[in-house]
Point group: C2
Chain length 337, copies 2
């Protein structure tokens, strides 16, 4: 037989299905000898519990839904990896969906996950998301949800974030104290939360150190390799190079590396580069990238921990806010003076 049910075992042993159910869950009602007999024949018959049925009447799926914008970005794949780690250890399944930075797909994903009756949701918003509606709905349905990396600040769900602005200010203070003053910023899209925060950190740090803010050295672009590449070319062709480039993330920095090398410039001798990033990746850049280090594994871990905690305590929107510390790592891509 292909699919054995508890009732099949019961029939074979001439007992009630309830006895079987209890025995298999090691319920104290059932005698040891009975349990032994049942478990044995269950094994022989190739019984496999049907979790769907169990989920239906317990109204719990032990499943967490994750929504990430992009899995090819190793920042996110590290986050997901650590979430799966934590979830598995606590006996939860993970259903993974990818929004491709599209609001419409993200919305669809979340609705699907809700229909699947996940016990909770871990969401990193897409870059274009502006509509809170699906999230309001999740809130109404009392589904625990935790935002990570990108969040609706105004909503009452728990959030796990990096504290970008102070991270930038602290790092830039150190760099400026070392004697640098001519610094350009490859700032990504200033419309996005992250681009905005990071750019504000940059301008705040200049201000704090009484350095002039040069408009021509704030170069907007995207968040990908090619954006860093193009931004560098633009900067270089202006004929007015700074001492350092501060990039919005490690991919933009790597694009800048490529363009700089093609232009025959040496890093860090001719131009220094530093960025937000993740040292497990950026330590393999050539030269090693000086980074404001953001640990995705910590972020995934904390977000998942928070979520499972809320699930098990029956809290649907905890309103907690956790900041993951950023650490400035001075590597090879910026000279010490």
């Amino acid at each position: 037989m292909v699919n054995i049910r508890q009732s099949d075992i019961a029939k074979k042993l001439n007992i009630s299905r309830v006895t079987v159910s209890k025995a298999l869950r090691d319920h104290p009602d059932i005698s040891l000898s009975m349990k032994k007999k049942i478990i044995e024949t269950a094994g022989k018959m190739g019984y496999v519990p049907n979790l769907i049925a169990r989920q239906l009447n317990s109204r719990r799926t032990f499943t967490i839904g994750i929504v990430v914008p992009d899995l090819e970005n190793s920042f996110f794949s590290y986050i997901v990896d650590s979430m799966i780690d934590y979830a598995t250890e606590h006996n939860y399944y993970v259903i993974l969906t990818v929004s491709r930075e599209k609001e419409a797909i993200e919305k669809q994903n979340i609705e699907n996950l809700i229909s699947m009756r996940v016990d909770g949701l871990l969401v990193c918003l897409s870059q274009e998301t502006t509509d809170e509606q699906v999230f309001t709905k999740a809130g109404k349905m009392k589904i625990p949800l935790v935002f990570f990396d990108r969040a609706f600040e105004s909503m009452n769900f728990s959030k796990v974030l990096f504290n970008d602005k102070p991270g930038a200010v602290n790092s830039l203070n150190r760099i400026i104290r070392e004697g640098y003053s001519r610094i350009a910023n490859f700032s990504g899209y200033a419309k996005t939360n992250i681009g905005k925060e990071r750019l504000e950190g940059f301008t705040a740090a200049l201000k704090h150190n009484k350095l002039p803010l040069r408009k021509e050295w704030i170069i907007e672009g995207g968040f990908e390799l090619n954006d860093g590449y193009e931004s560098f070319k633009k900067l270089n062709s202006s004929g007015n190079l700074p001492e350092l480039i501060f990039a919005v993330n490690d991919r933009v920095a790597l694009g800048a590396y490529k363009a700089a090398k093609e232009a025959g410039l040496r890093i860090p001798e001719d131009i220094g580069i530093f960025a937000y990033g993740f040292n497990e990746i950026t330590d393999f850049f050539d030269p090693q990238l000086t980074v404001i280090n953001q640990d995705p594994r910590r972020m995934g871990f904390e977000a998942c921990k928070l979520l499972i905690n809320e699930i098990e305590k029956g809290i649907s929107s905890g309103g907690n806010k956790i900041y993951i510390e950023e650490e400035f790592l001075w590597r090879k891509s910026v000279n010490r003076k």
Copy 2:
């Protein structure tokens, strides 16, 4: 109310739950006006279908279980990404599990996924897996399963693989034809299928070109960055450097890059390096890595396509075998003579 059921809608409209069920699924039985009314009130009441219930009585979950050894390896995260892509497009959910290259965890994952009644499984074996038992069980239960990248050759499940040995032979033929003869091999663990295949490709190519096989130039190690780093140090300290290094994968190659640069050697002038890899990653190595290119997106796509096809045709072990073509890409890390 938090959780509206079809029966709640029925009660409100004073009709039968069956009518509601049919209307919501756009069944032709129901009149247009009725449908409209039902869908409208369903929307107003905030009805969300319960897929668990539907799954229970249809005995289909529209869910695929994936087992990968490691998600921090971008090769696998690209594969998973493309699988999710394909699955989502065909209205399947994806439950993702990670084995961390441990046979015991892999086994547990698969058993859990079977209990979750996934419609099919996509599995890349861990490096240490030797026991076929769980897979035999999946086969007995008629659960469609497709292996990707690493498979039990002897089992009758479908497989999607790279054809490593001919890939190595062809690539090495080209390189040797260019005039190279002194080539070392960083071969990974020769015990694993992949290490074995690739090493065989190397030795076969040397033989075919009548070049001697030097034991001291076959350096076993692992498959990670650090293994390439250590292997290079070992090779370099022998005082007998080859012209080229052929690495078992891109991470090992990158580790070798690092050690070579630390030793003051230039790539490719002093030593050339090439490897199996994935050009979207390796094109950002410095210098760009010459690779036997393996496209993970293609692999993920083909495996998922095969699986969903088997699911929908009711085939449990299709026995198909698909090879993903490898393409030799001559980049900067090996000089043309």
